[in-house]
Amino acid sequence: MNIFTIIIGAVFVNNFILVKFLGICPFLGVSKKTDSALGMGVAVIFVMTLASLITYVLDKWLLSAYGLEFLQTIVFIFVIAALVQIVEMIIKKISPTLYNALGVYLPLITTNCAILGVALLLVTGEVYGVMINNLFEAVLYGLFAGVGFTLALFLMSGLRQKVDSLPLPKVLKGFPITLITASLMAMAFAVFA
């Protein structure tokens, strides 16, 4: 039952972008094309899952065990930065097309607050009312928070392709209408809460 709560909670109820407003930068930056939005989403899922795993283990065995909770932020940033570096190298080798499509946003995952947010929330044992009891649940939450992130990005990219081709007044063209679209999506997601 708890697994079901985690999945629904991470993807819909507490969607990191549309409900908690974390990770807005890639949400607005990489959502122009569906292809690159999905690529970014997959990269975030990958980094988020790995980051939840490694940070949870590090916290339980090292930091909390020795009472060094104050080190959490800096160690987690460190872990995420290293992970992004690794992911970048792997993607560059395996899929240069995806690497070019992601462009500057791949290194920007380093400072994506959604990932640091997930890592920092998971080690407290409770994420927005959902209890995290063990490593499996922590990794599961990380994975589905990434899925929620990808879902938001994917929906946004689809909407944006429609919106960008509308005959809009010049003041609304481009970024303003994107922000309005984002706010409407956030209102729609508020229904789940």
Binding site: L68, I86, M89, P96
Partner: protein, 273 residues
Amino acid sequence: MNCFLLASSVNWTTVWIALAIMFGVSIVFALLITVISKVFAVKTDTRVEEITSLLPNANCGGCGYPGCAGLAQAIVDGKAPIDACAQCVKANRIKIANIMGVSFEGGEETIAVVHCTGGIKCEDKYEYNGYGDCKSQSIMSGGRKMCEVGCMGVGSCVDACPYYAVEVKEGVAVVDQSLCVSCGNCILACPKKIIERIPKSAKIYIGCSSRCKGKDVTLMCKSGCIGCGICQRTCKHDAIHLQNNVPVIDYSKCIGCKECMAKCPRHVIRELK
């Protein structure tokens, strides 16, 4: 005094443990990244970086590739010619040709000019009240102007120019030659195709593209070429010829004496500043 108190209250054991943990974590990740960078090393062509450093790096997009690095990749792949970047200086083009191992046959530096001087002197067909964009207007029965190849003065080229070199004066687009680097963005933006590149050394250019007969031109535009041919007869150097009722200058023969400019009854031949 405060400093001493602070220093004595620090729990040094905790500090050492914290340092040890950070050190340990960084060593582990450093090793991991080193190993992975060796395993997943991608062989990149060093020529791409060299050519990128020789290009202007303005990333204007005039060549049609995504930025200067994109063009450098295309040159290395053989998809783009050596002189695909119009604003690249000659010395750098020769260096690029050397990197690619091919000979370079010149290719003169160019600038863009608008082959129209009509503007407010050209009659309107109708009043346009639509979206302010040259393409949108040209869809409506070829634009607002009576002349099919007349500048509508809406200024899509002004928006396209990343160097602020184009402006609309008296209803017609004018390129400021001191700012133009011949990137080609305005040429791509103009739906009438009346912006063209000419050699930078040129002294004069033709300010009209109309191929209509003289009588039709006089009805439409006070500044259009009527195809009288005086310029062709005046030129002693065989450099200017009427083609389809509009003069064309052969810049390899033109010496810039400007005699045709003085004789032109419609002041279509203009001086480059």
